[in-house]
């Protein structure tokens, strides 16, 4: 994958390992993806599938030790992120790559006023003086829909509701007009109604500021309306990678199919139990030699337990990690035809 025109982030064969007492945990094991400028990429997977670790690696935020980026390349706008000194990485963080965290309740410092936390970023990166930083912070708060920003600037985080705090986090993340925004399950800790508002806000700001976004979630419903591309992760590996529409319409991986089936559907028959993928994600410290999903897969055969599956190319944008990718893809097309007849 060469440095194409318009590529903002390119991750190639990234491996992030953690040394634990239980052995080496390969939290991320050979992830490759490419993000074009202005695009939104969704990363979907169960807890522990390595989605967050992937993005913490991009920000070089993996705690070392026990973590270690064991291999691969991360290129952000032509810069080799893994080769940078920590000072240079710090210049990227918050300035060109920003991050929103899962739990707005704990990701703001409870002892510092909102104003202190908001102004710190711009004073650090944009060399704002106190007045400039304050004015900019108020502007950002208004931008994320906090109307009485001047009054609320000097409040403490505990005086805000969860949704408001996430808005503050977004304001902080977008303060320096970053080129890449990584949102790590930005709505998981919020009420459903607030979830929609926050997603709408991210979408709106992305369109206005032209930021590229990586949206990490375990909820396929969240990524459906927001993303251009989706990566499905499982046990530290990319299981399927496709444009959003194609992934939803014609998944080529049994795991993706399982995930799609387990999304609650308003047209769902009443009384019928919601589908769930049987079993639990495997222990990443002790992966079996074959396909890590084999034990839970509806169509696993002997070869799945014996041999690691190949990364099959369905078309140039669509790849699936499965021995039977083509077959599953064909199945999906067939099912779709049945649906649309």
């Amino acid at each position: 994958m060469n440095q194409q025109n318009g590529s903002i982030l390119s991750v190639k064969d990234l491996r992030t390992y953690f040394a634990t007492e239980d052995g080496v945990v390969k939290a991320v094991d050979g992830i490759t993806f490419e993000l074009t400028k202005g695009e939104t990429l969704g990363i979907v997977g169960e807890s522990g599938s390595g989605k967050s670790v992937t993005n913490l690696s991009v920000m070089r935020l993996i705690p070392e030790p026990p973590g270690q980026i064991a291999g691969g390349r991360i290129v952000f706008d032509g810069i080799d992120v893994l080769g940078l000194s920590i000072e240079k990485v710090r210049d990227l963080r918050g300035r060109r790559i920003a991050m929103i965290f899962q739990d707005p309740m704990t990701s703001l410092n409870p002892f510092l006023k909102i104003s202190t936390q908001l102004t710190e970023v711009t004073r650090l990166h944009l060399n704002h003086n106190e007045q400039q930083a304050r004015a900019h912070a108020i502007k950002m708060l208004k931008l994320v829909g906090i109307s009485d920003a001047e009054d609320r600037m000097d409040s403490y985080p505990h005086e805000f509701s969860g949704g408001m705090r996430q808005r503050v986090m977004i304001a902080m993340a977008l303060s320096c007009d970053p080129e890449l925004l990584i949102a790590d399950e930005p709505t998981t800790a919020l009420d459903v109604t607030i979830q929609a508002q926050i997603l709408e806000l991210i979408k709106d700001l992305k369109a206005r500021m032209g930021t590229s976004v990586i949206l990490i979630t375990h909820d396929l419903g969240v990524v459906a309306g927001m993303t251009d591309k989706i990566i499905v992760m499982y046990a530290g590996k990319v299981f399927e990678q496709a444009p959003t529409k194609e992934l939803f319409a014609t998944p080529a991986n049994p795991y993706t199919k399982g995930l799609l089936k387990s999304v609650p559907d308003p047209a769902h028959e009443e009384g019928k139990e919601l589908y769930q993928i049987p079993g639990l994600p495997p222990d990443v410290a002790h992966l079996p030699p074959g396909c890590p999903f084999a034990e839970r897969c509806y169509r696993a055969e002997d070869i799945c337990r014996r041999e690691f599956p190949p990364f099959v190319e369905i078309n140039s944008d669509h790849h699936s990690l499965c021995h039977f990718a083509q077959e599953v893809y064909a199945e999906s097309i067939k099912e779709n035809e049945v649906l649309h007849v």
Binding site: L61, R90, L108, N109, F111, V121, L124, D151, Y156
Partner: protein, 320 residues
């Protein structure tokens, strides 16, 4: 947006703590007493001189054989061996005693908080080495360290920066004053150990919280995270512990002065006044009684305030 209907006027944690503190009678008593003592000590000597013309150093020129008089209307706390007004001496000595308490605590605060926060945040081997050093210093009786520091760096060997400091503040050529400054630092340098442990413990429990990761993700440096994000979060316990360090430092100073190692004449502290008084305890008991009582009252007040602050700042652990 429906979420932001009304802006609530901010109640910070400090205001809550302040309210809780005001409900604690002993703590309020301590606080009020401390304010009174501080006022007396700071402006007392001036008022006394203005009202009666008495100063702490004035030795009466008359030829009385016995110059120690019991408390009277003119000399509220009597006079000392040399006939100097005891009240004025206690006020003057209080300045030194309180200053030793406060400045030494600030020194211990700066050293202890930085040391503990850095050890706790960096963790791993650095933390291990740093805290083993603390353990080692702990193992040596601190009074011994202070005595060694005072005798090694006392007199002619006082480090030039301490001399400079005392000369800038108190005028040049004052041997006794630089001795007092040396005392500040010597006491500060032995009382930071517990502070370092307290702060380290706090930082250890805080550093894995998400807001630290969030601060890192915005590009804040390690130094910035430790001192701008983590240290403010440890302030509660730090304030409590600092309030309790002041009396212990003052007590140590009194002990050293009693031994003749601390504050030297012509300066006086409550400790050196008490030491003078002990010699005459059988005949002129007020010479020990008043400095001792004043000091006891101050220490009580500080301890009450410290306990009150602990309850106020950490409501979860309050036990009655």
């Amino acid at each position: 947006m429906d979420e932001n209907v009304t802006a609530i006027k901010g109640t910070s944690l400090w205001r809550d703590a302040w309210k809780r503190l005001l409900k604690n009678r002993l703590a309020v008593f301590g606080l009020v007493m401390l304010i009174i003592i501080a006022l007396f000590v700071i402006i007392g000597p001036l008022v006394l001189f203005w009202a009666t013309g008495i100063t702490a150093d004035e030795i009466p020129a008359n030829g009385d054989l016995i110059k120690s008089f019991p408390p009277s209307r003119l000399h509220w706390m009597g006079t000392d061996e040399a006939g100097r007004d005891q009240f004025a001496r206690v006020l003057q000595g209080g300045r030194i005693s309180l200053m030793v308490g406060i400045i030494s605590t600030i020194v211990s605060l700066v050293v202890g908080v930085s040391y503990g926060a850095i050890a706790g945040f960096l963790g791993g081997r650095i933390d291990n080495v740093m805290m083993r050093i603390v353990d080692m210093i702990y193992a040596i009786p601190y009074i011994l360290i202070v005595i060694v520091l005072l005798s090694v760096f006392g007199g002619q060997n006082t480090p030039s920066w301490i001399k400079y400091l005392s000369e800038t503040i108190g005028g040049s050529g004052n041997q006794g004053l630089s001795q007092i400054f040396l005392l500040f630092f010597a006491l500060g340098l032995v009382s930071w150990l517990t502070m370092a442990r307290v702060v380290r413990g706090q930082v250890l429990s805080l550093k894995n919280q998400e807001f630290v990761m969030a601060a890192r993700a915005t590009g804040v440096s390690t130094f910035g995270i430790i001192f701008r994000h983590l240290v403010p979060n440890t302030l509660g316990p730090v304030i409590v512990y600092a309030t309790l360090t002041v009396p212990s430092v003052m007590l140590t100073e009194a002990f050293l002065s009693y031994l003749g190692l601390g504050v030297q004449a012509p300066f006086a502290s409550w400790g050196s006044l008490a030491a003078d008084g002990v010699k005459n305890i059988a005949i002129f008991p007020w010479q020990l009684l008043f400095p001792g009582l004043t000091m006891a009252l101050t220490l009580f007040s500080l301890n009450f305030l410290g306990d009150g602050l602990r309850d106020a700042l950490d409501p979860q652990t309050r036990k009655f």
